[in-house]
Symmetry: C2
Subunit: 429 residues, 2 copies
Amino acid sequence: MALLGCGVVGTEVVRLLREQAGDLAARVGVPLELAGIAVRRPERVREGVPRELLTSDAQGLVTRDDVDIVIEVIGGIEPARTLILEAMKTGKSVVTANKALLAEDGATLFAAAREYGADLYYEASVAGAIPLLRPLRESLVGDHVHRVLGIVNGTTNYILDQMDTNGAGFNEALEEAQALGFAEADPTADVEGFDAAAKAAILAQLAFHTPVTAADVHREGITEVSSADVAGAREAGSVVKLLAICERVPAAEGRNGRGVSVRVYPAMIPRTHPLASVREAYNAVFVEAESAGSLMFYGAGAGGAPTASAVLGDLVAVARNLRGGKPGPVEVTYAELPVLPMGETRTRYYIQLDVADRSGVLATVATEFAKHDVSIQAVRQVGSGEDAQLVVVTHRAADAALSATVERLRSFEDVRRVASVMRVEADDV
Amino acid sequence: MALLGCGVVGTEVVRLLREQAGDLAARVGVPLELAGIAVRRPERVREGVPRELLTSDAQGLVTRDDVDIVIEVIGGIEPARTLILEAMKTGKSVVTANKALLAEDGATLFAAAREYGADLYYEASVAGAIPLLRPLRESLVGDHVHRVLGIVNGTTNYILDQMDTNGAGFNEALEEAQALGFAEADPTADVEGFDAAAKAAILAQLAFHTPVTAADVHREGITEVSSADVAGAREAGSVVKLLAICERVPAAEGRNGRGVSVRVYPAMIPRTHPLASVREAYNAVFVEAESAGSLMFYGAGAGGAPTASAVLGDLVAVARNLRGGKPGPVEVTYAELPVLPMGETRTRYYIQLDVADRSGVLATVATEFAKHDVSIQAVRQVGSGEDAQLVVVTHRAADAALSATVERLRSFEDVRRVASVMRVEADDV
């Protein structure tokens, strides 16, 4: 067994392997022994990590004859990809927590696993310790998944929760999250939705048995979410969450549908929805399947210990497979469904417009929606004079039609400002 | 492949096998073919079930050479046990939804699976389609589970939810549940906690790698839960739920603890706890593990389609194992921890006493608690004169000490009636 990387997760893996050695050996049937740990600077002292195991020669470590399982917790695309492929090529099984790599080039890894008969387990790559991929890969493998709706990034959930609870603005909430260690100094990957998009790609791939990469995912972050958006949601009995949404788009005929829609953006969900009560940095994922109905998985989505717990669960599974002489199931992406462009995805919009307090404004606005074939579910005027606002909630329509409508409204003389535009999700759950 | 039993779940399994034949074949790698269905009365017409597959010769069916997997959805101890053992003895793998059998005699089944190298999968036996056993068996296998706290019976959750929401009494809520099909004509198995106790035994066995049978589980049903109990809980910011609780009891030394406590009873939990918002007939299970932290699994806990979804997930796993020539992991109960008696379990009590409105009553009551070494967290007097009540909430103490205290209080002249006694759980989560 070799460990690649010894940061927060790696250190925790080493600690758990030592502390739970007896239990793990009993559960696997043989002891799990760490042959080496590849790090960039082996000379650095790491508490609880035996110095003699450290090496800077990752390439040499993954191809050693006495290594049968490689645990990769370096993260990023390279050198992780090369090392994982090298390991599988020489007959090793792999456990990884690398969401970026799986979302960018999962197909190459799955193909290698099939070719070399190697195990490739990656529960830790999405939602930390929440057992989510295994249920999707295995428990629901006999069912037909319609939709996956998830809060899969703890940093952004913490920020949005603070904005909702304390009325904080985005920058203020971000600073607090950074001070508390919930957000990194450079928060781009989280707040711009890159992290959630990678996880959405992995989830969609598993749920729909179809290849999806991070580049296929429509992505919008939360940096543009304003206090007005959050207050508007609150008035509407909703809350703003950054959602990863993987949906099977129904077709007139055929079970598999016309394709899949995979997207990440902030959206309003009703406060009565179970996802609405996911607070602070917690993660939760809702799965809707034909026979199983609605399922929810909830827990800590990040952190060294929860991620290490997921790595160890995979490690035991892989070790048992090795003892039995047979790898576990390999991803099958037989469905090959197309990923539909965002413009074709049917969504709902909630729009606040600052308008001139003149008769006829409502008619003008309503006419513009009708022109784009967007049906309005409700519209109401709030305030008067300088503070006159129209709040419009639409029915489902093609996203392209909705955004085109909003663009047109911006140019109207009687529309002084588009104060808030937010998609509405989970209204039909 | 053979199916034993063709009731609500069996019929749904047949339907899904037909409707999803293409998807299932792609996911397994070969088509799944049903060779026969054993039922008591093969002459009865069952919609969507091919007549020519039906047979009354279950014994003959499970030992047929062209059968490699046996799906058991008959339920109950016999003939299910004999048929499952017969199937494994002749080299077949087994998928079962039979909680009663697993809770009564799981050890025999696991031993047979080990002896004959057969797969034994049973996700459908607890909490319907909610993937719960596989996460416990596999995802958390590298972690250390401290506690499992679950709402695992939909009927009783529906009844308690109605009592909480509408102020209905137990009998009224039960009748409504029966009218709506949430409770059976003979509701004993549900309302007396037998169903939940069987599930608790299965969960404890998996969580603590230790043998636990239904007979080991301390069990109290909800028939004694009164409107006063529910109202008292509401006033205390709590809600009454029938909980299945599996706990590792810490020891002064050693990781495995002194033993395990497995129990089912109605208890108060704070409304802020995620389990409190589990409404109607839904199920949810909270798992607390050392590294993973708190996890929750939520979904429909019963019904033909959800249960069939779980059966099919297992079926695909077993079929893949067969193709690969190697069975999946078999339960290991290496820990052999003792199941502690209820009296030694440390719990908290919430007690309402109708008392004489006399000075000194509080002192008398408090003294009795002290005599039993039970520490009081809070006590307050409500009402006066005829309506005088004392509400006592204790700290954790041995359950035997708590119940002995309550017994003594009943004999006090100044205590006119013990109006409500309810355990308090999940307060420290």
